[in-house]
């Protein structure tokens, strides 16, 4: 008999000192243990997970306690201005100044208010074709009670994570690679198994959403530049302005007596509205501080490596 014929399955079965029926039953049992293993509940007291990475952190509406902007500045450039319904009152204030000088006998002086004269002037509409650049320095702005929509955070690397009190319910494991031989039982049921420790290569959780909210202590941004914005037109409400010119006086001097009439012109301006057109707005924010941020958060696509679990207890294991 050739070597190939001697190593055929039938010749090998015949050569074994075991009956063919027993070998057939062992084959059936081997096929049964390749079924799925169902674990009702696994409890882990504590463990560590290294290299924790989160694919996406979804953030809800954030409640911000206060927003503080420091050392801000803004500028309005290349604007045209139109002043509407401009009226002015030219106020002429009259004063009489006098001085009497009698030499060693004595000298006296004084000023008498002679009243004022109002001259109304209706200026109508005034157009300023090329208004100079206006720079505004804003030392500090406080905005309390903001609500902001937060963008999700992608590819968040959290490093290591300590786990405690982990529990997995209704866990199903494929038994591929698990090999049990020499067992003559149809079903296996373990009411309770305790493993002192176990090490896993990796763990993946598809989705985790904390029930509470994540409180951030605060955040700050520095030197934020807002790009220039073209502003087609902006109309202000009514406003007033006053200007006082230097005094003009007319006097007479007759030695003992000096008399002069002094006139103080003051212009009171009342503007119905002002329209700024074709302006370019730009702003710089020195420091932006966000305090007391509270927002709901959910994590998606969490993965980690080098999982170490201690004190694992399995309540029920069924093949």
């Amino acid at each position: 008999m050739s070597l190939k014929e001697r190593l055929s399955p039938d010749n090998l079965m015949e050569s074994l000192p075991i009956s063919r029926d027993l070998l057939t039953r062992l084959g059936l049992l081997g096929a049964q243990v390749t079924r799925k293993i169902a674990i009702d509940q696994v409890s882990v007291d504590n463990g560590t997970l290294h290299n924790l990475k989160v694919e996406k952190v979804a953030l809800g509406s954030a409640s911000i306690g206060s927003l503080k902007v420091e050392n801000g500045s803004a500028s309005v450039n290349n604007a045209n201005a139109v002043l509407n319904q401009v009226r002015s009152i030219v106020e002429l204030g009259f004063h009489l100044d006098w001085q009497i000088d009698l030499g060693w006998i004595g000298s006296w002086d004084g000023s008498e208010d002679m009243g004022s004269l109002d001259i109304p002037v209706d200026l109508g509409t005034i157009t300023v074709p090329d208004l100079g650049d206006i720079d505004l320095q804003i030392p500090s702005i406080d905005i309390p009670g903001l609500v902001a929509q937060m963008k999700p955070i992608d590819q968040l690397d959290l490093g290591n994570l300590d786990l405690s009190g982990v529990r997995l319910d209704k866990l199903s494991l494929p038994s591929a690679g698990l090999s049990i031989t020499g067992m003559g039982v149809g079903d296996l049921t373990l009411s309770s198994v305790t493993v002192p420790s176990a090490d896993g290569e990796a763990m993946r959780v598809n989705r985790a959403a904390p029930t509470g909210t994540l409180n951030l202590p605060g955040a700050s941004l520095e030197n934020v530049a807002i790009p220039a914005i073209n502003m087609p037109a902006a109309t202000s409400g009514s406003f007033s302005a006053d200007a006082t010119a230097s005094d003009k006086s007319l006097g007479i001097d007759i030695g003992l007596l000096k008399v002069s009439i002094r006139v103080t012109p003051t212009v009171h301006l009342d503007v119905g509205s002002m329209t700024l057109s074709d302006a370019q707005l730009a702003a710089d924010l020195g420091k932006v501080s966000l305090d007391d941020i509270s927002l709901p958060v959910s994590l998606e696509g969490i993965s980690g490596g080098e999982l170490g679990l201690n004190s694992i207890s399995v309540n029920k294991l069924t093949f």
């Binding site: 006098w98 006998i105 006296w108 004084g110 208010d113 009243g115 004269l117 109002d118 006053d242």
Partner: protein, 88 residues
């Protein structure tokens, strides 16, 4: 003085009705206070200026000022008693 919008409207209406200056006082009458005491004080201050200008010696100035200082209380007393007759 800056005007509020309300004050501007009030003065705008008034300015269209009136064209004369608004006088704050009914009359202008400068008041001069003249008395023997003030004249004596002015005289002494002029003597001191003369000393500073080296037109008068300090001793001469002090001698005159001493006499004026003696005269001032007497003049004050007379002023108080005969005020209505000494009115300027």
């Amino acid at each position: 003085m800056s005007l509020s919008h309300k004050e501007f409207e009030k003065r705008w209406e008034q300015a269209h009705r009136k064209s004369r200056p608004q006088q704050k006082k009914s009359s202008i009458a400068p008041v001069i206070h003249l008395s023997v005491i003030s004249v004596l004080d002015n005289y002494m201050s002029q003597l001191h200026k003369a000393v500073e200008g080296h037109a008068l010696s300090k001793e001469e100035c002090d001698a005159v000022c001493e006499k004026i200082a003696e005269l001032k209380p007497l003049a004050k007393k007379a002023d108080a008693k005969a005020a209505k007759y000494l009115k300027v």
